[in-house]
């Protein structure tokens, strides 16, 4: 699959520097965080429906690594593989890392990113849609994913938003359209 726009792509040096990094430690950390997250938010797995049993490949086009996501309750896991080995998944979503992160936290609209060809999807479309809609409802913030709360959570979210905003401006990605606000209580 080819990308057609360089919208928000990380510089090639990032791929070069991250290529030798061992994948296993990242895999363990992400799996642990995602299991804790779904334990805190079981309603999201209910919303995901049958897609919870389906592996979905998330492939940043500007990194040498891909992520196979399984959100099957306590058996949830994230496998980190080489981009060209993300073939075992039932569905695949790919695009620049900054765009994918914006889809995960709801800053970008998934349909708009698809219309503009900033992302591409392949495979079982219904699972990509279910995952996208579930993430929309998750109102996912970096702090919540990491299991942080209180002042530390606010600081982490604010700093991450500033860093992502700066990266988007520098790399020509679209500006984020929305941020989760504290009054968005569940």
């Amino acid at each position: 699959m080819t990308r057609h726009r360089d919208c928000g792509e990380l510089p090639p040096v990032v791929a070069l520097l991250t290529k030798p990094l061992p994948r296993r430690p990242l895999e363990l950390i992400l799996t642990r965080l995602v299991r804790q997250f779904v334990e805190r938010r079981p309603e999201l797995i209910e919303r995901l429906g049958p897609t919870a049993q389906v592996p979905i490949a998330v492939v940043p086009t500007d990194l040498p690594h891909a992520f196979i996501v399984n959100l099957d309750g306590p058996r949830s896991r994230i496998d980190v593989v080489a981009s060209d080995q993300a073939t075992s998944a039932a569905a695949r979503i790919e695009g620049p890392l900054l765009i994918l992160l914006g889809l995960f936290d709801g800053s970008y609209d998934g349909d708009a990113a698809f219309f503009s060809r900033d992302i591409a999807i392949e495979g079982a479309t219904q699972h990509v849609l279910a995952l996208r809609n579930t993430l929309e409802e998750a109102d996912l913030t970096p702090a919540e994913f990491a299991g942080l709360s209180g002042n530390l959570a606010e600081i982490v979210n604010r700093r991450t938003a500033e860093a992502l905003g700066l990266a988007r401006r520098l790399l020509g990605a679209p500006a984020a359209d929305i941020r989760a606000t504290p009054e968005h209580g569940r």
Partner: protein, 338 residues
């Protein structure tokens, strides 16, 4: 009493929500009313991961009411013979949640609502395709319908004429997906996949949709095994709906019914007000919070500007990135293609 009268604006802005998070985003962005539905086949946006459980609906209504907004619950598919209970339960659950109105199209659903939930306002869904004074009068006289959502095939002049002949509110689409068929009676999706928005709540069901990108960057969109469109490398893409697919006929290949394009009638708000329209509807319950927030904010600004007597607003540039195929149209409202 009109819902619009309580807003002190020339229109009531009716905004989409496919998830509780989108509902909160719409409320926070300035929606006067939010329309949404349950996570089952009673809802014409019955997509995976989308919509509300009964408990989520009650919480959503509470959030909207606390912020001065209304919730209109869409129970807008056609009840299946032998399974009417699902639709009846949806009506009762929406009323129990405190919904401000129900949006329905099916006679059995309207009858159940009118008989068993007489205190809940009824709006006639666009799925009923009621676009004549006679049809609208039937629904108002039989079920007490207070508002009609008009099909997206009428010009502004036709809407004005219709409004002069009926005694109920009208609501029109002003932004988003552009359905050019006689809604509620379109069989294109059924033909290709066996499922339709009218019965199961899904147009182009995602389990029948497949995308394939060739090595040269060409994107092929397939529905039910049919290749319905092809986008060159870098060319903006659209939804995998047959009405916006390309067809070959009489030696020519092209978009037969409609191009991949979104409706944007922001520039027509003064004309729609003069035509007697009560409410403006933004399409897009399948869209994300970012879309909801941006479009609602933009249209609320436009409605407020109109209330202040400021000149017409053009939101085309601001909303282009959110439009299907990256393009916008005023659709049938300015029927230049006729």
């Amino acid at each position: 009493m009109s819902l619009q009268a309580e807003t002190a604006a020339p229109f009531e802005l009716v905004c989409p929500a496919g998830t509780p998070a989108a509902l909160r985003a719409a409320v926070d962005a300035g929606a006067h009313a939010i329309y949404c539905g349950f996570n089952n086949e009673t809802n014409a946006r019955n997509f995976p991961g989308l919509n509300f459980s009964e408990a989520e609906m009650a919480k959503g209504v509470d959030y909207a009411h606390r912020h001065g907004a209304k919730v209109l619950v869409a129970i807008n598919t056609f009840a299946r013979a032998g399974s009417v209970e699902i639709w009846q339960r949806a009506v009762d659950a929406a009323a129990e949640a405190g919904a401000d109105a129900l949006i329905a199209a099916d006679l059995a659903v309207l009858e159940h609502a009118a008989r068993h939930q007489p205190g809940t306002r009824l709006h006639l869904s666009v799925q009923a395709a009621a676009n004549t004074p006679e049809a609208i009068r039937f629904y108002t006289e039989t079920f007490g319908v207070k508002r009609v959502v008009l099909p997206r095939v009428l010009s502004v002049e036709e809407i004005a004429r219709l409004n002069r002949e009926i005694a109920v509110e009208t609501e029109v689409f002003v932004f988003g997906g552009l359905c050019v068929m006689t809604e509620g009676r379109c069989a294109l999706s059924s033909h290709a996949t066996g499922k339709s928005p009218n019965l199961t709540g899904v147009c182009s069901p995602p389990d029948h949709v497949a995308y394939e990108e060739n090595a040269d960057g060409t994107l092929l969109a397939r529905l039910g095994g049919f290749t319905i469109d092809r986008f060159a490398a870098g060319e903006p893409a659209g939804y995998p709906t047959l009405c916006k697919g390309q067809f070959s006929a009489m030696g020519k290949t092209g978009y037969l019914f409609e191009d991949p394009v979104s409706l944007n009638a922001a520039a027509l708000l003064p004309a729609l007000r003069d035509a007697g329209v009560t409410a403006l509807k933004i399409e897009g319950r399948q869209r994300g919070k970012a879309y909801v927030s941006s479009v609602v904010r933009a249209f609320r600004r436009a409605v407020d500007a109109l209330a202040r007597g400021e000149p017409e607003t053009d939101l085309a540039g601001e909303l282009a990135a959110l439009a299907e195929g990256g393009r916008q149209t005023t659709g049938a409202y300015r029927k230049t293609w006729r």
